[in-house]
Every structure is written in C-alpha cells, then in structure tokens.
C-alpha cells in the first residue's frame, strides 16, 4: 500500500476569483470513474493536491459532499506549487489524494443557529459546510444561518458568484464587508469584528464557525467571548505546512496534535489547551 500515490483528476473549469486573479477556483473530476464514485468526504476535510512534476500541497475541499461528481479547490497563488497550479487550464491533469483530516461537527450542530465568520480566502473551507447546510436535504436540520464575510477590498472578495446566490435566499442572512471600499462599492465598509459586534448574534443555542487571517481570528474570538459565546461554541479550521497529510512527516503538529489528522478543525476550547504555536 503506497499512501503517497495520488489519483489523477482532470480540471473541468478554472474560475478567477479575485480582481488580481491571485485566487482561482479549480473544479476537477477524477479520471477514473471508480475513484470518482468512491471518493467520499465530509465538509472541512482537505486533500493533497499535486501538480505532477512540481509538487504537492494540502488544500481544503471547498465544494460540498452534496455536490456529486466533482471537487472544487480555491487556491491562492503563494508558492511554487500554487503558482504552477494557477498556470493550469481546463483539460490539464492534477494529482489528488485524500480526503484527509477531521471535519466540521455538522451533526452536533444540528438544531442550532449557525454563524459563519470568514475573512479573505478563509471562506474557502467554510463554503463546504455552508453549501452542505443550505442543501435542501439538510437545511431543516439547522436553525437560522448567517454569514459575515469580509475582505481587504471589493476586488479581494472570493466566490462573488456564490455570494450572489446566497444573497437571493430568504433562509440566510449574509453580510459582506470590505476594509476599504472603492468607487463602485455600495456595500459595507469595516472590519469583520466590527460587523460582528454590530450584528451581535445571540449565543443561545448557536454555534459559530470561523476562518480567516490570524489578526481577524484574534479579534473575532475576543468579540465572540464578549457576546457570550463559550469556547466550545466556536469552531475554526487551521492551516499548517504539511507534506504527507497522514501523520508521518512530522511537520504540522501543534503540541501532541497533528493538524493533518486531529485537525484541521478545532474548537476554541481545544485550541486554548494547545501551545500557541500556529
């Protein structure tokens, strides 16, 4: 058994997300039908994605298991591998192995209000769970759903096409904000934590799921605490440099926890008991 061998997948579509195109979403389908049918994942899991001949990186699966037949990865151009991935076109091949890691506790969240709080490309891992919760087969299991999403500028917002679809739903409260507007921006201007304080979601029978840049997370956690959310009501997902994705290469641990296996999803309650080394 060679757990490092990826399955081949074909890029079906490449969607530029940001104005500068430093984030693109890749929709891919496994080349082998039996792999396509057998690949089961949960919202919040990630995969090791390869550009064969260049390298491999852990990327959260931004599509939802309720969307069958393909996977989506939203990738920010940052290093050698993601730069090569950004050069790929529909029809090109990627390698994919996984799914890896734990997942959002969507069963434990049933019956509760859900508040999603995301910044920048931090929306990518949350989108899997948002789509899952909003799916007609699941929507009734959850209470009120709200999303607070922010980016530095209107051009830095990702999934604008998805945001439009969400905005049209009447079972979802969506608040989009930017740190700095521009001439054409009609929406909110302000940091995510400000919007959170203003909207002041109620902690009773609610759970929040948050992902974004460290500075946003820091203030969001403080504000959630002031709003009365307890650490076990706050769920986040971490990123860490990884190679194997399966607990062997020794790279992604925080204390005795391996982000690749025990994470990437942690509650704030769990994080508080881990060394602040992430």
């Amino acid at each position: 058994m060679n757990p490092y061998l990826p399955h081949l997948a074909v890029i079906q579509e490449v969607i530029p997300e940001t104005a500068s195109q430093d984030v693109k979403t890749f929709r891919v389908a496994f080349a082998e039908p039996e792999v396509r049918d057998g690949f089961r994942y949960e919202p919040g899991q990630f995969a090791e994605v390869s550009v064969i001949g260049v390298g491999e990186a852990p990327i959260s699966i931004t599509s939802s298991p309720t969307q069958e037949g393909y996977l989506e990865f939203a990738v920010k151009r940052a290093g050698v591998m993601t730069t090569a991935m950004h050069h790929a076109r529909p029809g090109d091949y990627l390698g994919i192995r996984g799914p890896y890691g734990n997942h959002f506790p969507y069963r434990e969240m049933e019956g509760k209000d859900v508040v999603f709080i995301a910044g920048g490309i931090g929306l990518a891992p949350l989108r899997s769970l948002i789509t899952f919760v909003l799916d007609p087969a699941n929507r009734d299991r959850y209470g009120a759903v709200s999303i607070i999403y922010g980016a530095r500028s209107p051009g830095d917002l990702v999934f604008k096409w998805e945001l439009e679809r969400w905005r049209q739903r009447d079972d979802l409260a969506l608040e989009v904000t930017v740190d700095r507007g521009d001439a054409s921006w009609q929406g909110r201007v302000g940091f995510v934590p400000q919007v959170l304080r203003e909207l002041a979601p109620r902690p009773e029978n609610a759970v929040t799921v948050t992902c974004g840049p460290p500075v946003m997370i820091k203030f969001v956690l403080q504000d959630l605490e002031k709003l009365g959310f307890t650490p076990d009501q706050v769920i986040t997902t971490l990123e860490m440099r990884m190679k194997c994705g399966i607990g062997k290469c020794g790279r992604c641990n925080i204390g005795s926890r391996y982000v690749c296996q025990d994470g990437p999803v942690f509650s704030y309650e769990q994080l508080r008991q881990m060394p602040a080394e992430y």
Binding site: P3, Y4, I52, G53, M81, E239, M240, R241, K243, P275
Partner: protein, 341 residues
C-alpha cells in the same frame, strides 16, 4: 511476536563469517560494520563482519527501513496524460545482522508512526515484514549511552528476532520469535552450556552496572506544564541548528516530499531547520532556534509519550557524541526536570 523461550545455542567466533556468507546467499543481508565515524549498516560483501569491539554504529538502523532518500513513485507524460508508477518494496526476505537493542527499540517506536491504520506506509511496512533482526547485546556500552534511563537495556529484546550475547569465544544465541527460530535452526548450533549461559548473565550485569546513574527521561508530566518556561530561552543558545542530531537519531522520522527527475521523492528533513514549518505565505509558527529546539525535545519527551505512552528516545547517545556544539541531551534532560510553569 514473542512465544515460548527457545533454547539458547552457541556460535563460536570462528563460525560467524560463514554464517553471514550463508545468510547473504539466501537473500539481502545487512551487517552492522565498521568502527566510529565509518560505522553503519552495510549490505554484505565477502569479508564483511561485525566488529564486536565497536560500540553502536554511528549511522542508525532506520536507514535500512527509511532510506535518506527514496522514490515514492515515478511519473512520465504519455500522450498528454501523466502516468504514475508507484514504488513497491520487493518483499524479499532480508536479514539485518548486529542490531543493537537500542536500535531495535527505535524501530518499535517508529512502527506505530508508519503503520497506524488507516494510512499504512507500505514502503516501511513491507521492509519491516521482510526483515529478520539479529541483535547483538552490548557488553561494553559507550560513554554516551543511557539506554536504561530511556526504558531500554543493553541486552534488551524488544523488536529483535534473535539476540546474540557476546561472551568469551563466541556468542550465546537466543531465538526470540518464530522468525528468529527459523533463522537459527538451520545453523545446527549446539545448545549453550550452563557456563556459557552464566557468562551471558555476567555480561548483562556488567553492562547494566556501567550504565547505572543515567538521567531518567520520563518527563512527560513535567514538560506538559513547561511549554512557556524561561529555561527554553537559553537552552537553545548553544545549538547551531545543523540538524545532525536529528539525522543520526534512530527515532527521528521527519521527511520532505518533492518532485525531481521524473520521480517524487521523500528525503529526510529536520524540525531544526527554519524552513521546516515555513508557510508559503511567509508565516512561520517556529521562527527561532528556541521554538525549534523546544519542538524537538517536547516531541520526544512529551508529545510522543502523550500519544504512544512512552518517550521517543532510546538512549543511544548518538546526539551527544556528534553534536558539534557539545549539547549533551543528558544534561539538557537533567535541566528540564526543573521545568515547571
């Protein structure tokens, strides 16, 4: 693995070269050979023999099962489609000869890392399943050895299939597993005589006496409360970050993965390097030598025991011997005993 104790037999010193040669005819045979800097596990060639006067080899047994660099799969593009060729271990039975008890224990500590379901590393597991480990007890532990403190013993049996105890004139041969019996029986050796058995016990007693007073490494409870202790601020100051200790540590298993020359490789890597945890974004959770040394020590003596129940150190002393800055793990552990948050 361990069953009824089989009868010990006796191998004379003169017979050893023939035993090695015969083993090599049946399949790949590795021998702990050489002395000092040059010593390590070497594929058998005529004339190669273990040096019973030498201490533990400088290079460790892990290289046989987890090579410094190895191919995970090959790739080529045919008609625009990538073709992947996975590496598979040959599965051919092999013998590793002259394994010190500390090195065998180290493999037992690495097994759960590589073989824990559901992600079994077939490259590691394949080699492990194919290997018969013939151990060599330590009659003269080196100056840096501290295996009893790490839960081991100079004549420890964990992870071995056969244990050879060096005594006057030869070796007491103790088969420890079914596989060990399968290796021993064809040799047709005579049962060990009572005085040879007694000589082996005396060797063990002498070796244990030499190792008495080693500092204990059972620091999990202490370290779990000591992540923020001020001691970490200065413990690392002497460390040059060369990572030699991790390469020669029999339980270190960190690796990097990368593509080169039509192949995806894994290569040894080290938590002592700054780039080890560097994100593509530029963020780095362990920016200085303080965090990196703390990680190495915490992993071995706190995190690993939390997950697996015992420290990831076998007390072989290699890190003590090769550190260019004379960082002595034993004294570091002694200082860490005082760590309390």
């Amino acid at each position: 693995m361990k069953e009824r104790p089989a009868m010990a037999v006796f191998l004379t010193r003169d017979q050893l070269p023939a035993v090695l040669a015969a083993s090599a005819e049946r399949g790949p045979t590795w021998v702990a050979a050489g002395r000092g800097e040059d010593s390590g596990f070497i594929p058998y060639r005529p004339g190669l023999c273990l040096d019973r006067e030498a201490g533990p080899t400088r290079r460790t047994l892990k290289e046989v099962f987890f090579p410094r660099a190895e191919v995970l799969f090959g790739y080529a593009t045919v008609d625009g489609v990538p073709r992947l060729q996975p590496a598979e271990p040959s599965g051919q039975p092999m013998v590793v000869f002259g394994v010190r008890p500390c090195d065998a224990r180290a493999l037992a500590l690495l097994d759960p890392v590589f073989e824990e379901p559901p992600h079994v590393d077939g490259l590691w597991a394949g080699r492990r399943q194919a290997a018969t480990l013939v151990g060599l007890g330590c009659d003269r532990p080196g100056p840096a050895c501290f295996c009893p403190a790490a839960g081991g013993d100079p004549l420890g049996e964990e992870g071995l299939d056969v244990l050879l105890v060096p005594v006057d004139g030869g070796y007491l041969v103790r088969p420890l597993t079914e596989r060990g019996r399968a290796w021993t029986e064809p040799l047709g050796l005579p049962p060990a005589r009572p005085e040879q058995q007694a000589a082996a016990e005396a060797v063990a007693a002498r070796a244990r006496e030499r190792l008495a007073g080693s500092p204990p490494v059972d620091l999990q409870a202490t370290l779990a409360r000591g992540f923020e202790h001020a001691l970490w601020d200065r413990l690392h100051e002497r460390c040059l970050g060369c990572a030699a200790c991790t390469y020669l540590c029999p339980t270190c298993h960190c690796f990097d993965v990368g593509d080169e020359d039509g192949r995806r490789w894994r290569r040894w890597d080290s938590c002592m390097f700054p780039a080890f945890t560097l994100h593509a974004s530029g963020h780095n959770p362990r920016t200085t030598g303080k965090e990196r040394m703390r990680q190495r020590l915490m992993h071995k003596f706190c995190y690993y025991p939390e997950r697996r129940g015992r420290p990831a150190c076998v007390g072989c002393g290699r890190c003590v011997e090769i550190c260019p800055a004379n960082v002595d793990l034993r004294s570091v552990l002694d200082q860490l005993k005082g760590v309390r948050a």
